[in-house]
Amino acid sequence: MDFLAEGFRRAVALLFSGDAEVYGIAVLTLKIGFLATLVACAVGLPAGFLLATRPFWGRRAALTVVNTALAFPTVVVGLLLYGVLSRRGPLGGMEWLYTWQAIALGDVLLALPIAAALAAAAVQGVDPRIRRTAETLGAGRWRTAWTVAREARFALAAVITTAFGHIVAEIGSAMTVGGNIRGQTRTLTTAVALYTSQGDFGLALALGLILLLLALLVNVALQVLQGRGESHA
Protein backbone atom coordinates (compact mmCIF):
# COMPACT_ATOMS: atom_id res chain seq x y z
CA MET A 1 0.00 0.00 0.00
CA ASP A 2 2.96 2.34 0.54
CA PHE A 3 3.64 2.64 -3.15
CA LEU A 4 0.08 3.87 -3.67
CA ALA A 5 0.46 6.61 -1.09
CA GLU A 6 3.90 7.49 -2.42
CA GLY A 7 2.51 7.57 -5.95
CA PHE A 8 -0.31 9.84 -4.86
CA ARG A 9 2.13 12.22 -3.08
CA ARG A 10 4.28 12.37 -6.21
CA ALA A 11 1.22 12.97 -8.36
CA VAL A 12 0.16 15.96 -6.27
CA ALA A 13 3.71 17.34 -6.30
CA LEU A 14 3.92 16.98 -10.09
CA LEU A 15 0.55 18.64 -10.56
CA PHE A 16 1.57 21.72 -8.63
CA SER A 17 5.18 21.88 -9.87
CA GLY A 18 4.16 22.82 -13.41
CA ASP A 19 6.16 19.94 -14.92
CA ALA A 20 6.68 20.72 -18.60
CA GLU A 21 6.19 17.15 -19.78
CA VAL A 22 2.98 16.67 -17.81
CA TYR A 23 1.75 20.05 -19.02
CA GLY A 24 2.61 19.21 -22.66
CA ILE A 25 0.80 15.87 -22.52
CA ALA A 26 -2.29 17.47 -20.98
CA VAL A 27 -2.36 20.26 -23.57
CA LEU A 28 -2.02 17.80 -26.47
CA THR A 29 -4.81 15.65 -25.03
CA LEU A 30 -7.05 18.70 -24.70
CA LYS A 31 -6.22 19.89 -28.22
CA ILE A 32 -7.03 16.52 -29.73
CA GLY A 33 -10.07 16.14 -27.49
CA PHE A 34 -11.64 19.47 -28.38
CA LEU A 35 -10.88 19.19 -32.11
CA ALA A 36 -12.16 15.61 -32.43
CA THR A 37 -15.26 16.43 -30.36
CA LEU A 38 -15.96 19.46 -32.53
CA VAL A 39 -15.69 17.51 -35.78
CA ALA A 40 -17.54 14.43 -34.49
CA CYS A 41 -20.40 16.54 -33.11
CA ALA A 42 -20.55 18.83 -36.16
CA VAL A 43 -21.24 15.74 -38.27
CA GLY A 44 -22.83 13.42 -35.70
CA LEU A 45 -25.46 15.73 -34.20
CA PRO A 46 -27.11 16.63 -37.54
CA ALA A 47 -26.83 12.98 -38.60
CA GLY A 48 -28.57 11.95 -35.39
CA PHE A 49 -31.25 14.56 -36.01
CA LEU A 50 -31.86 13.19 -39.50
CA LEU A 51 -31.97 9.62 -38.21
CA ALA A 52 -34.53 10.63 -35.61
CA THR A 53 -36.78 12.79 -37.73
CA ARG A 54 -36.51 12.06 -41.45
CA PRO A 55 -38.09 8.94 -42.84
CA PHE A 56 -35.82 7.62 -45.62
CA TRP A 57 -35.10 4.30 -47.21
CA GLY A 58 -32.60 2.31 -45.11
CA ARG A 59 -33.14 4.46 -41.99
CA ARG A 60 -33.58 1.45 -39.73
CA ALA A 61 -30.45 -0.17 -41.15
CA ALA A 62 -28.52 3.08 -40.64
CA LEU A 63 -29.65 3.22 -37.01
CA THR A 64 -28.54 -0.39 -36.52
CA VAL A 65 -25.12 0.38 -38.02
CA VAL A 66 -24.70 3.46 -35.83
CA ASN A 67 -25.76 1.59 -32.69
CA THR A 68 -23.42 -1.30 -33.54
CA ALA A 69 -20.57 1.15 -34.07
CA LEU A 70 -21.04 2.30 -30.48
CA ALA A 71 -19.54 -0.98 -29.35
CA PHE A 72 -16.68 -0.95 -31.87
CA PRO A 73 -13.39 -1.76 -30.00
CA THR A 74 -11.08 1.26 -30.10
CA VAL A 75 -8.08 -0.86 -30.90
CA VAL A 76 -9.84 -2.29 -33.96
CA VAL A 77 -10.63 1.22 -35.18
CA GLY A 78 -6.94 2.03 -34.63
CA LEU A 79 -5.92 -1.04 -36.56
CA LEU A 80 -8.15 -0.25 -39.54
CA LEU A 81 -7.01 3.37 -39.54
CA TYR A 82 -3.42 2.19 -39.35
CA GLY A 83 -4.03 0.21 -42.55
CA VAL A 84 -5.56 3.23 -44.26
CA LEU A 85 -2.86 5.68 -43.16
CA SER A 86 0.16 3.39 -43.56
CA ARG A 87 2.44 4.00 -46.53
CA ARG A 88 0.73 1.26 -48.59
CA GLY A 89 -2.75 2.37 -47.54
CA PRO A 90 -5.14 4.56 -49.57
CA LEU A 91 -4.33 7.67 -47.48
CA GLY A 92 -0.66 6.86 -46.99
CA GLY A 93 0.32 9.90 -49.05
CA MET A 94 -0.94 12.20 -46.32
CA GLU A 95 1.82 10.94 -44.01
CA TRP A 96 -0.42 11.23 -41.00
CA LEU A 97 0.62 7.97 -39.35
CA TYR A 98 2.23 8.59 -35.93
CA THR A 99 1.00 12.20 -35.84
CA TRP A 100 -1.52 13.84 -33.54
CA GLN A 101 -3.78 14.32 -36.57
CA ALA A 102 -4.01 10.52 -36.91
CA ILE A 103 -5.06 10.26 -33.27
CA ALA A 104 -7.67 12.99 -33.79
CA LEU A 105 -8.99 11.20 -36.91
CA GLY A 106 -9.30 7.93 -34.98
CA ASP A 107 -11.09 9.75 -32.17
CA VAL A 108 -13.51 11.34 -34.64
CA LEU A 109 -14.34 7.90 -36.05
CA LEU A 110 -14.91 6.58 -32.54
CA ALA A 111 -16.99 9.53 -31.33
CA LEU A 112 -19.07 9.93 -34.48
CA PRO A 113 -21.46 7.01 -33.78
CA ILE A 114 -21.73 8.12 -30.16
CA ALA A 115 -22.74 11.62 -31.21
CA ALA A 116 -25.17 10.35 -33.87
CA ALA A 117 -26.82 7.61 -31.80
CA LEU A 118 -27.20 9.67 -28.63
CA ALA A 119 -28.36 12.74 -30.56
CA ALA A 120 -30.98 10.59 -32.31
CA ALA A 121 -32.15 9.33 -28.92
CA ALA A 122 -32.17 12.88 -27.51
CA VAL A 123 -34.24 14.23 -30.41
CA GLN A 124 -36.61 11.26 -30.30
CA GLY A 125 -37.15 12.13 -26.65
CA VAL A 126 -38.52 15.56 -27.55
CA ASP A 127 -42.31 15.77 -27.55
CA PRO A 128 -43.35 15.35 -31.23
CA ARG A 129 -45.87 18.17 -30.77
CA ILE A 130 -42.94 20.62 -30.53
CA ARG A 131 -41.97 19.87 -34.12
CA ARG A 132 -45.55 19.97 -35.39
CA THR A 133 -46.16 23.24 -33.55
CA ALA A 134 -43.07 24.88 -35.03
CA GLU A 135 -44.15 23.74 -38.50
CA THR A 136 -47.72 24.91 -38.16
CA LEU A 137 -46.51 28.31 -36.98
CA GLY A 138 -44.65 28.59 -40.28
CA ALA A 139 -41.14 27.41 -39.47
CA GLY A 140 -39.15 25.91 -42.34
CA ARG A 141 -36.95 22.85 -42.07
CA TRP A 142 -33.96 24.54 -40.43
CA ARG A 143 -35.92 26.64 -37.98
CA THR A 144 -37.96 23.58 -36.99
CA ALA A 145 -34.75 21.61 -36.43
CA TRP A 146 -33.36 24.46 -34.33
CA THR A 147 -36.55 24.62 -32.25
CA VAL A 148 -36.46 20.88 -31.57
CA ALA A 149 -32.73 21.05 -30.75
CA ARG A 150 -33.42 23.91 -28.35
CA GLU A 151 -35.91 21.73 -26.50
CA ALA A 152 -33.33 18.92 -26.33
CA ARG A 153 -30.39 21.16 -25.56
CA PHE A 154 -29.50 19.58 -22.21
CA ALA A 155 -29.60 16.08 -23.66
CA LEU A 156 -27.51 17.31 -26.61
CA ALA A 157 -25.03 18.95 -24.21
CA ALA A 158 -24.75 15.59 -22.48
CA VAL A 159 -24.03 14.01 -25.88
CA ILE A 160 -21.13 16.43 -26.41
CA THR A 161 -19.77 15.71 -22.93
CA THR A 162 -20.04 11.97 -23.47
CA ALA A 163 -18.24 12.23 -26.80
CA PHE A 164 -15.48 14.35 -25.25
CA GLY A 165 -15.15 11.94 -22.32
CA HIS A 166 -14.93 8.97 -24.66
CA ILE A 167 -12.26 10.69 -26.76
CA VAL A 168 -9.96 11.74 -23.93
CA ALA A 169 -10.31 8.33 -22.26
CA GLU A 170 -9.63 6.09 -25.26
CA ILE A 171 -6.23 4.46 -25.64
CA GLY A 172 -6.43 1.70 -28.25
CA SER A 173 -6.62 3.87 -31.34
CA ALA A 174 -4.30 6.59 -29.96
CA MET A 175 -1.61 4.02 -29.21
CA THR A 176 -1.93 2.25 -32.59
CA VAL A 177 -1.94 5.23 -34.94
CA GLY A 178 -0.14 7.74 -32.69
CA GLY A 179 2.73 5.54 -31.57
CA ASN A 180 3.01 7.26 -28.16
CA ILE A 181 5.98 9.40 -29.29
CA ARG A 182 7.29 11.63 -26.52
CA GLY A 183 6.52 15.31 -27.13
CA GLN A 184 4.57 14.56 -30.31
CA THR A 185 1.81 12.00 -29.93
CA ARG A 186 1.87 11.13 -26.25
CA THR A 187 -1.59 11.67 -24.74
CA LEU A 188 -2.74 11.25 -21.17
CA THR A 189 -3.99 7.71 -21.66
CA THR A 190 -1.01 6.43 -23.66
CA ALA A 191 1.36 8.07 -21.17
CA VAL A 192 -0.43 6.46 -18.21
CA ALA A 193 -0.04 3.06 -19.89
CA LEU A 194 3.63 3.67 -20.67
CA TYR A 195 4.67 4.99 -17.26
CA THR A 196 2.75 2.25 -15.49
CA SER A 197 4.59 -0.40 -17.53
CA GLN A 198 7.89 1.37 -16.75
CA GLY A 199 7.09 1.35 -13.01
CA ASP A 200 6.86 5.15 -12.73
CA PHE A 201 3.65 4.91 -10.79
CA GLY A 202 3.68 8.49 -9.48
CA LEU A 203 3.83 10.06 -12.93
CA ALA A 204 1.18 7.65 -14.22
CA LEU A 205 -1.05 8.50 -11.29
CA ALA A 206 -0.51 12.24 -11.79
CA LEU A 207 -1.57 11.95 -15.41
CA GLY A 208 -4.52 9.79 -14.38
CA LEU A 209 -5.58 12.47 -11.90
CA ILE A 210 -5.41 15.13 -14.61
CA LEU A 211 -7.61 12.93 -16.77
CA LEU A 212 -10.12 12.63 -13.94
CA LEU A 213 -9.91 16.37 -13.31
CA LEU A 214 -10.73 17.08 -16.97
CA ALA A 215 -13.74 14.77 -16.84
CA LEU A 216 -14.85 16.42 -13.61
CA LEU A 217 -14.52 19.95 -15.02
CA VAL A 218 -16.52 19.11 -18.13
CA ASN A 219 -19.27 17.51 -16.05
CA VAL A 220 -19.38 20.44 -13.62
CA ALA A 221 -19.67 22.81 -16.58
CA LEU A 222 -22.61 20.76 -17.86
CA GLN A 223 -24.29 20.72 -14.44
CA VAL A 224 -23.96 24.51 -14.20
CA LEU A 225 -25.43 24.86 -17.70
CA GLN A 226 -28.34 22.54 -16.85
CA GLY A 227 -29.04 24.34 -13.59
CA ARG A 228 -29.14 27.66 -15.37
CA GLY A 229 -31.32 26.25 -18.13
CA GLU A 230 -33.87 24.71 -15.77
CA SER A 231 -34.51 28.08 -14.18
CA HIS A 232 -35.23 29.48 -17.66
CA ALA A 233 -37.33 26.59 -18.99
Binding site: R129, I130, R132, T133, A134, L137, G138, E151, H232
Partner: protein
Protein backbone atom coordinates in the same frame (compact mmCIF):
# COMPACT_ATOMS: atom_id res chain seq x y z
CA UNK B 1 -60.59 27.54 -50.36
CA UNK B 2 -58.72 24.76 -48.57
CA UNK B 3 -59.66 21.28 -49.75
CA UNK B 4 -58.86 17.62 -49.30
CA UNK B 5 -59.59 15.75 -52.52
CA UNK B 6 -59.69 11.95 -52.85
CA UNK B 7 -57.89 11.54 -49.57
CA UNK B 8 -57.28 8.08 -48.11
CA UNK B 9 -54.96 8.17 -45.14
CA UNK B 10 -53.51 5.13 -43.42
CA UNK B 11 -51.47 4.46 -40.31
CA UNK B 12 -49.63 1.20 -41.05
CA UNK B 13 -52.38 -0.72 -42.88
CA UNK B 14 -55.28 0.84 -41.01
CA UNK B 15 -57.42 3.26 -43.01
CA UNK B 16 -58.12 6.21 -40.70
CA UNK B 17 -59.54 8.71 -43.16
CA UNK B 18 -61.48 8.20 -46.35
CA UNK B 19 -62.81 11.42 -47.87
CA UNK B 20 -63.79 12.05 -51.46
CA UNK B 21 -63.85 15.79 -50.80
CA UNK B 22 -63.68 18.02 -47.78
CA UNK B 23 -63.77 21.74 -48.47
CA UNK B 24 -63.27 24.69 -46.19
CA UNK B 25 -64.52 27.81 -48.00
CA UNK B 26 -62.92 31.21 -47.24
CA UNK B 27 -64.37 32.79 -44.14
CA UNK B 28 -66.42 29.70 -43.22
CA UNK B 29 -66.85 28.35 -39.72
CA UNK B 30 -67.07 24.57 -39.86
CA UNK B 31 -67.30 22.14 -36.96
CA UNK B 32 -66.27 18.52 -37.21
CA UNK B 33 -67.87 16.34 -34.61
CA UNK B 34 -67.60 12.65 -33.98
CA UNK B 35 -66.56 10.07 -31.42
CA UNK B 36 -62.97 9.49 -30.32
CA UNK B 37 -60.95 7.83 -33.04
CA UNK B 38 -63.27 9.02 -35.80
CA UNK B 39 -60.41 10.83 -37.56
CA UNK B 40 -61.03 14.44 -36.52
CA UNK B 41 -57.44 15.18 -35.42
CA UNK B 42 -56.00 13.41 -38.47
CA UNK B 43 -58.23 15.47 -40.74
CA UNK B 44 -56.99 18.70 -39.13
CA UNK B 45 -53.34 17.59 -39.38
CA UNK B 46 -53.81 16.87 -43.09
CA UNK B 47 -55.44 20.26 -43.63
CA UNK B 48 -52.52 21.86 -41.77
CA UNK B 49 -50.08 19.91 -43.97
CA UNK B 50 -48.41 18.39 -40.97
CA UNK B 51 -48.96 14.97 -42.51
CA UNK B 52 -49.09 13.97 -46.14
CA UNK B 53 -52.13 11.95 -47.14
CA UNK B 54 -51.33 8.37 -48.16
CA UNK B 55 -53.49 9.02 -51.24
CA UNK B 56 -55.10 12.15 -52.64
CA UNK B 57 -54.11 15.76 -52.33
CA UNK B 58 -54.50 18.96 -50.40
CA UNK B 59 -55.54 21.94 -52.52
CA UNK B 60 -55.40 25.61 -51.75
CA UNK B 61 -57.44 27.88 -53.99
CA UNK B 62 -57.75 25.02 -56.48
CA UNK B 63 -54.02 24.24 -56.78
CA UNK B 64 -52.51 21.09 -55.32
CA UNK B 65 -49.92 21.79 -52.63
CA UNK B 66 -46.82 19.86 -53.67
CA UNK B 67 -43.25 20.25 -52.51
CA UNK B 68 -41.55 21.51 -49.38
CA UNK B 69 -41.65 25.22 -50.22
CA UNK B 70 -45.33 25.14 -51.14
CA UNK B 71 -46.08 23.35 -47.89
CA UNK B 72 -44.15 25.89 -45.82
CA UNK B 73 -45.86 28.73 -47.70
CA UNK B 74 -49.29 27.20 -47.00
CA UNK B 75 -48.43 26.70 -43.35
CA UNK B 76 -47.93 30.45 -43.10
CA UNK B 77 -51.61 30.86 -44.03
CA UNK B 78 -53.06 27.87 -42.16
CA UNK B 79 -52.40 27.36 -38.45
CA UNK B 80 -53.41 24.44 -36.26
CA UNK B 81 -53.87 24.45 -32.50
CA UNK B 82 -53.68 20.88 -31.30
CA UNK B 83 -55.95 19.34 -28.70
CA UNK B 84 -53.25 19.29 -26.04
CA UNK B 85 -50.98 22.08 -27.24
CA UNK B 86 -47.43 22.60 -26.02
CA UNK B 87 -45.58 25.82 -25.48
CA UNK B 88 -41.92 26.21 -26.37
CA UNK B 89 -39.27 27.02 -23.80
CA UNK B 90 -39.45 30.64 -22.80
CA UNK B 91 -42.25 32.97 -21.78
CA UNK B 92 -45.76 33.11 -23.17
CA UNK B 93 -44.78 36.38 -24.86
CA UNK B 94 -41.83 34.66 -26.59
CA UNK B 95 -44.20 31.94 -27.72
CA UNK B 96 -46.57 34.50 -29.22
CA UNK B 97 -43.64 36.19 -30.95
CA UNK B 98 -42.30 32.93 -32.45
CA UNK B 99 -44.35 32.89 -35.66
CA UNK B 100 -44.22 36.68 -36.04
CA UNK B 101 -40.42 36.49 -36.00
CA UNK B 102 -40.52 33.91 -38.80
CA UNK B 103 -42.61 36.33 -40.85
CA UNK B 104 -40.18 39.17 -40.18
CA UNK B 105 -42.86 41.41 -38.71
CA UNK B 106 -41.53 44.76 -37.43
CA UNK B 107 -40.91 45.00 -33.68
CA UNK B 108 -43.56 47.67 -33.11
CA UNK B 109 -46.15 45.60 -34.96
CA UNK B 110 -45.13 42.48 -33.03
CA UNK B 111 -45.73 44.26 -29.73
CA UNK B 112 -49.03 45.71 -30.91
CA UNK B 113 -50.34 42.35 -32.13
CA UNK B 114 -49.20 40.45 -29.04
CA UNK B 115 -50.77 42.96 -26.65
CA UNK B 116 -54.00 43.06 -28.65
CA UNK B 117 -54.50 39.28 -28.84
CA UNK B 118 -53.42 38.80 -25.22
CA UNK B 119 -56.01 41.36 -24.10
CA UNK B 120 -58.77 39.74 -26.16
CA UNK B 121 -58.04 36.28 -24.75
CA UNK B 122 -57.46 37.63 -21.22
CA UNK B 123 -53.89 36.34 -20.98
CA UNK B 124 -52.08 39.66 -20.56
CA UNK B 125 -51.13 38.67 -17.01
CA UNK B 126 -49.63 35.43 -18.33
CA UNK B 127 -47.28 37.00 -20.90
CA UNK B 128 -44.27 36.91 -18.58
CA UNK B 129 -44.87 33.36 -17.35
CA UNK B 130 -43.22 30.15 -18.50
CA UNK B 131 -45.00 26.96 -19.43
CA UNK B 132 -44.49 25.20 -16.11
CA UNK B 133 -46.21 28.12 -14.38
CA UNK B 134 -49.46 27.67 -16.35
CA UNK B 135 -52.50 25.46 -15.94
CA UNK B 136 -53.70 23.29 -18.84
CA UNK B 137 -56.46 25.78 -19.60
CA UNK B 138 -53.99 28.68 -19.65
CA UNK B 139 -51.66 26.75 -21.97
CA UNK B 140 -54.61 26.16 -24.29
CA UNK B 141 -55.51 29.88 -24.33
CA UNK B 142 -51.88 30.85 -24.89
CA UNK B 143 -51.67 28.39 -27.79
CA UNK B 144 -54.81 29.84 -29.40
CA UNK B 145 -53.35 33.34 -28.92
CA UNK B 146 -50.07 32.17 -30.50
CA UNK B 147 -52.04 31.09 -33.58
CA UNK B 148 -54.40 34.09 -33.71
CA UNK B 149 -51.57 36.61 -33.46
CA UNK B 150 -50.35 35.38 -36.87
CA UNK B 151 -53.65 36.46 -38.44
CA UNK B 152 -53.89 33.29 -40.55
CA UNK B 153 -56.42 32.81 -43.35
CA UNK B 154 -57.45 29.48 -41.84
CA UNK B 155 -57.44 28.56 -38.17
CA UNK B 156 -57.77 24.86 -37.30
CA UNK B 157 -58.72 24.12 -33.71
CA UNK B 158 -58.71 20.63 -32.24
CA UNK B 159 -60.91 20.57 -29.14
CA UNK B 160 -59.82 24.11 -28.21
CA UNK B 161 -61.80 24.20 -24.97
CA UNK B 162 -61.15 20.70 -23.64
CA UNK B 163 -59.21 22.09 -20.66
CA UNK B 164 -61.18 25.31 -20.28
CA UNK B 165 -64.04 26.05 -17.92
CA UNK B 166 -67.36 27.16 -19.37
CA UNK B 167 -66.64 30.89 -19.04
CA UNK B 168 -63.18 30.58 -20.63
CA UNK B 169 -64.64 28.49 -23.46
CA UNK B 170 -67.35 31.06 -24.20
CA UNK B 171 -64.76 33.87 -24.07
CA UNK B 172 -62.62 32.00 -26.58
CA UNK B 173 -65.53 31.44 -28.97
CA UNK B 174 -66.59 35.08 -28.64
CA UNK B 175 -63.05 36.16 -29.52
CA UNK B 176 -63.09 33.92 -32.58
CA UNK B 177 -66.46 35.33 -33.63
CA UNK B 178 -65.12 38.90 -33.25
CA UNK B 179 -62.02 38.00 -35.24
CA UNK B 180 -64.17 36.55 -38.03
CA UNK B 181 -66.31 39.69 -38.03
CA UNK B 182 -63.17 41.84 -38.27
CA UNK B 183 -61.48 40.04 -41.19
CA UNK B 184 -61.97 37.01 -43.47
CA UNK B 185 -60.93 34.07 -41.30
CA UNK B 186 -62.00 30.48 -41.93
CA UNK B 187 -62.25 28.37 -38.80
CA UNK B 188 -62.42 24.58 -38.69
CA UNK B 189 -63.15 23.27 -35.27
CA UNK B 190 -63.06 19.66 -34.05
CA UNK B 191 -65.21 19.26 -30.98
CA UNK B 192 -67.08 16.85 -28.79
CA UNK B 193 -69.38 19.65 -27.70
CA UNK B 194 -72.26 19.59 -30.15
CA UNK B 195 -73.84 22.54 -28.42
CA UNK B 196 -70.75 24.69 -29.02
CA UNK B 197 -70.47 23.40 -32.57
CA UNK B 198 -74.00 24.47 -33.38
CA UNK B 199 -73.74 27.76 -31.54
CA UNK B 200 -70.43 29.02 -32.92
CA UNK B 201 -70.17 27.53 -36.40
CA UNK B 202 -72.28 27.73 -39.56
CA UNK B 203 -71.77 24.16 -40.72
CA UNK B 204 -71.57 21.03 -38.55
CA UNK B 205 -70.15 17.92 -40.20
CA UNK B 206 -70.06 14.49 -38.57
CA UNK B 207 -67.12 12.17 -38.95
CA UNK B 208 -67.40 8.48 -38.17
CA UNK B 209 -64.76 5.81 -38.81
CA UNK B 210 -62.85 8.30 -40.96
CA UNK B 211 -65.79 9.04 -43.23
CA UNK B 212 -68.17 11.97 -43.38
CA UNK B 213 -71.44 10.69 -41.98
CA UNK B 214 -74.47 11.22 -44.22
CA UNK B 215 -76.64 12.37 -41.30
CA UNK B 216 -76.59 15.06 -38.62
CA UNK B 217 -73.92 14.40 -36.04
CA UNK B 218 -76.05 13.66 -33.00
CA UNK B 219 -76.68 10.15 -31.78
CA UNK B 220 -73.81 8.36 -33.50
CA UNK B 221 -72.79 5.04 -31.98
CA UNK B 222 -70.15 2.49 -32.84
CA UNK B 223 -71.69 -1.00 -32.57
CA UNK B 224 -71.15 -4.63 -33.46
CA UNK B 225 -74.07 -5.92 -35.52
CA UNK B 226 -74.87 -9.56 -34.83
CA UNK B 227 -74.91 -12.13 -37.63
CA UNK B 228 -78.29 -13.55 -38.56
CA UNK B 229 -80.66 -13.89 -41.43
CA UNK B 230 -83.36 -11.56 -40.15
CA UNK B 231 -83.36 -7.89 -41.04
CA UNK B 232 -84.58 -6.72 -37.62
CA UNK B 233 -81.66 -6.80 -35.18
CA UNK B 234 -81.17 -5.69 -31.62
CA UNK B 235 -77.84 -4.14 -30.67
CA UNK B 236 -76.58 -2.90 -27.33
CA UNK B 237 -76.00 0.86 -27.15
CA UNK B 238 -75.08 2.00 -23.65
CA UNK B 239 -77.42 0.13 -21.33
CA UNK B 240 -80.28 -0.17 -23.83
CA UNK B 241 -81.02 -2.42 -26.79
CA UNK B 242 -81.79 -0.59 -30.01
CA UNK B 243 -83.84 -2.30 -32.71
CA UNK B 244 -82.48 -1.67 -36.22
CA UNK B 245 -83.27 -2.95 -39.67
CA UNK B 246 -80.13 -3.91 -41.54
CA UNK B 247 -78.69 -6.89 -43.34
CA UNK B 248 -75.17 -5.87 -42.32
CA UNK B 249 -73.11 -7.73 -39.76
CA UNK B 250 -69.99 -6.82 -37.80
CA UNK B 251 -68.65 -3.35 -36.91
CA UNK B 252 -70.93 -0.50 -37.96
CA UNK B 253 -72.02 3.01 -37.06
CA UNK B 254 -75.62 3.59 -35.99
CA UNK B 255 -77.13 7.01 -36.40
CA UNK B 256 -80.46 8.00 -34.94
CA UNK B 257 -81.53 11.23 -36.67
CA UNK B 258 -82.51 13.68 -33.96
CA UNK B 259 -85.50 14.84 -35.97
CA UNK B 260 -86.85 11.26 -36.21
CA UNK B 261 -87.23 10.87 -32.44
CA UNK B 262 -90.74 11.22 -31.13
CA UNK B 263 -90.81 12.94 -27.73
CA UNK B 264 -93.50 12.43 -25.05
CA UNK B 265 -93.97 12.45 -21.28
CA UNK B 266 -95.40 8.89 -21.13
CA UNK B 267 -94.88 5.79 -23.31
CA UNK B 268 -97.44 5.83 -26.09
CA UNK B 269 -98.92 2.95 -28.07
CA UNK B 270 -97.27 3.14 -31.50
CA UNK B 271 -95.43 1.15 -34.13
CA UNK B 272 -92.06 2.37 -32.87
CA UNK B 273 -89.83 -0.56 -31.91
CA UNK B 274 -87.61 1.67 -29.78
CA UNK B 275 -89.25 3.28 -26.74
CA UNK B 276 -86.93 4.51 -23.96
CA UNK B 277 -87.83 6.35 -20.77
CA UNK B 278 -85.39 8.63 -19.00
CA UNK B 279 -84.71 12.14 -17.79
CA UNK B 280 -83.95 15.40 -19.55
CA UNK B 281 -80.31 16.45 -19.12
CA UNK B 282 -80.56 19.83 -20.82
CA UNK B 283 -82.55 21.90 -23.28
CA UNK B 284 -80.52 23.93 -25.78
CA UNK B 285 -82.00 26.71 -27.83
CA UNK B 286 -79.56 26.66 -30.73
CA UNK B 287 -81.78 28.13 -33.42
CA UNK B 288 -84.85 30.31 -33.09
CA UNK B 289 -87.91 28.18 -32.43
CA UNK B 290 -85.96 24.91 -32.25
CA UNK B 291 -84.88 23.10 -29.10
CA UNK B 292 -82.35 20.28 -28.80
CA UNK B 293 -83.36 17.98 -25.96
CA UNK B 294 -80.49 15.96 -24.54
CA UNK B 295 -81.80 13.10 -22.40
CA UNK B 296 -80.37 10.14 -20.55
CA UNK B 297 -82.55 7.20 -21.56
CA UNK B 298 -79.98 4.54 -20.73
CA UNK B 299 -77.80 6.18 -23.32
CA UNK B 300 -77.44 9.89 -24.08
CA UNK B 301 -79.69 10.82 -27.02
CA UNK B 302 -80.56 14.15 -28.61
CA UNK B 303 -83.96 14.93 -30.07
CA UNK B 304 -84.98 18.07 -31.92
CA UNK B 305 -88.43 19.55 -31.34
CA UNK B 306 -90.09 22.93 -31.52
CA UNK B 307 -90.17 25.35 -28.61
CA UNK B 308 -93.94 25.01 -28.59
CA UNK B 309 -93.66 21.24 -28.13
CA UNK B 310 -91.33 21.69 -25.18
CA UNK B 311 -93.78 24.13 -23.64
CA UNK B 312 -96.80 21.90 -24.23
CA UNK B 313 -95.07 18.83 -22.79
CA UNK B 314 -93.71 20.81 -19.83
CA UNK B 315 -90.20 19.47 -20.34
CA UNK B 316 -87.60 20.73 -17.90
CA UNK B 317 -84.06 19.61 -17.09
CA UNK B 318 -84.25 16.65 -14.69
CA UNK B 319 -87.87 15.94 -15.62
CA UNK B 320 -89.17 12.69 -17.14
CA UNK B 321 -89.21 12.14 -20.90
CA UNK B 322 -89.81 9.29 -23.32
CA UNK B 323 -87.99 8.98 -26.66
CA UNK B 324 -89.50 6.73 -29.34
CA UNK B 325 -88.27 5.96 -32.85
CA UNK B 326 -88.82 3.31 -35.47
CA UNK B 327 -86.25 0.62 -36.19
CA UNK B 328 -86.25 1.76 -39.81
CA UNK B 329 -85.36 5.32 -38.74
CA UNK B 330 -81.99 4.12 -37.49
CA UNK B 331 -79.30 4.64 -40.15
CA UNK B 332 -76.59 1.98 -40.40
CA UNK B 333 -73.33 2.57 -42.26
Amino acid sequence: MLELVGVRHRYADRLVLDLDRFALPPGAAVAIVGPNGSGKSTLLRLLALLERPSEGEVRLDGAAVIGGRARTALRRRVTLVEQRPVLFRGTVRENLEFGLGLRRIRRTDVNRRVESVAARLAITALLGRRRHELSDGEVQRAAVARALVLEPDVLLLDEPTSSADRAAAQALYRTLAEERARRPLAVCLASHQLEDAYRWTDDVRALAEGRLAPVTPENLFRVELPAGGEDLKRVCVGSVEVAVTSDKTGPAILAVPATDIFVSREPLASSARNVFSGRVIRLSHQRPGVVHITADVGVELVAVVTEAAVRDLGLTPGGPVVFSFKASAVRVF
